[in-house]
Symmetry: C2
Subunit: 268 residues, 2 copies
DNA sequence: ATTCTGCTAACTGCTAACAGTTTACAGATA
DNA sequence: TATCTGTAAACTGTTAGCAGTTAGCAGAAT
């Protein structure tokens, strides 16, 4: 997510009133980056104490960071136990993408009404960058960055704070899925992303709400299926029901087929 | 939210392995309750230090609680400044309800596929309780509790952890709106709630996805409009753009009409 | 060999104290 | 009188240390 967290509109460096970053925020970012880059394996315990020592900071800010990353679904905390890096399952994938689809359809509706032309221009620039980069060949991480950046701009253009907050939390998990499972043929994958984003941008510019919503569904369902296909047939033994699951009184595990627009389509 | 946070299925008191509540969680609950009950007025600063002193606890857990309540949208924090109780505006109302609508439509879809019969029975029980209570007359807070409890059961029945998390955050804000603005004629309001909930429950039991989604939209749009109507015509002077707004480089304020299904309908 | 038992080290939750920032206000200045 | 300025009090962010819990492992028991 290297680039996706930088502001789309860079604040003027002069007189910028620079909102002071608290130490906890810096730790959060470092730790998030480390987890996303795979420095910590899924399932691996993360000691606040060790982390604090290695970052040369006390445990207070580190604790805050860990809590924040739990909200983002990257780690799992249970009281008095060490935090554990989340192991995202097939079920988590379905949850993330079903939720994302609902939110992103809302986002394009809002974007159509509230976006400024600069917003569209920035989206176009991101698509162009990906096209250029695709020519010289890029790795998975770069592809994921471009992908997420485009969608991030859509959410920003929607000018819906709460919607953006929810997306921010989901974003990290989407990134994990993109990196770990998005192993289709690169050319095919990148062209699909480019075509999908271009189509969505066109619909947004045309203020065609129905089409934008429809295209979003297609785009995300395709992404979902591509990632799902890369999951191993038998999931790892002893896998938790979900990466989150604070809930201890979970009902016995049931196979849950996807619901709603993510499920295999009959009619259309 | 007195009752809505208790577990729907109470864990067996024997051998319950009782998940130990951390001090920070207790403080969070107390503070949330205090804000929802109006002990702190919107706009009023909340000192972590004073709060810690008055609760007989150190500032660590209190800070954690304040951060948590910021996530729930009940307070606003800026670094090095005292937290302030959120003042929810008309725009916040629109954000909350547009997001809620998208979430809840997803929830009923999942509930239709994953709910057990007990889930429906519990929903029915809540509706019945409200009917009984309405006869003897109830105050706004009780009505809000019944209302939220029903919807909470729907989200639980969906068995979608991330969806429930988002709803949990929204729930507090919905509660604030219900308490502060839901001032329609009680009889009318309660009958509307009862009818709405009954219709949704029927559609869920019938596994009629399309109807359930449609009814949810009607129910929530009605609630939105009822609350909106109670907003004063001229909002308080000096009101922030939004209760959240970490973003300091906000564009000049623009009148934003609701988007999507919340807006006034032309076609249907 | 495998399962239990008890101990030690590692670690988290919490508290208390320090350093730097913000708020509030009294007095100075126009 | 109204506005500016400097200073003290209030408050947050951070650190370090204590108390209680958990994890890991060596040795006993089967």
């Amino acid at each position: 997510m290297t680039a996706s967290n930088t502001r789309a509109t860079s604040p003027s460096p002069l007189l910028s009133l620079a909102r002071k970053r608290t130490r906890a925020e810096e730790v959060t970012e470092r730790l998030r980056e480390a987890i996303l880059r795979g420095v910590f394996e899924p399932g691996q315990p993360v000691s606040e104490e060790q982390l604090a020592a290695s970052l040369g900071v006390s445990r207070g800010p580190v604790h805050e960071a860990v809590v924040q990353l739990q909200h983002e679904g990257l780690v799992l905390i249970r009281p008095n136990r060490r935090a554990v890096v989340a192991r995202l399952t097939r079920r988590d994938l379905e949850e993330v993408y079903s939720l994302r689809l609902a939110m992103e359809q809302l986002a394009v509706q809002y974007a159509i009404h509230h976006a400024r032309t600069e917003d569209f221009d920035m989206m176009e620039a991101v698509i162009r960058s990906l096209e250029d980069a695709a020519v010289r060949g890029i790795n998975e991480q770069e592809a994921a960055d471009f992908d997420i950046n485009f969608h991030d701009l859509v959410y920003r253009a929607a000018q819906h704070e709460r919607l953006y907050q929810v997306w921010s939390k989901l974003k990290s998990q989407v990134y994990v899925f993109l990196l770990s499972r998005n192993i289709a043929n690169p050319d095919f994958r990148e062209q699909g992303i480019i075509r999908g984003h271009t189509a969505i941008l066109d619909a947004l510019r045309a203020r065609d709400e129905k089409r934008a919503v429809e295209l979003t569904e297609q785009h995300l369902r395709a992404a979902y299926l591509r990632i799902l296909a890369a999951f191993p047939e038998h999931e790892e033994a002893g896998e938790a029901d979900s990466a989150l699951s604070i809930d201890e009184s979970a009902p016995p595990h049931v196979r849950r087929p996807p619901v709603g627009p993510l499920q295999a389509r009959r009619k259309t």
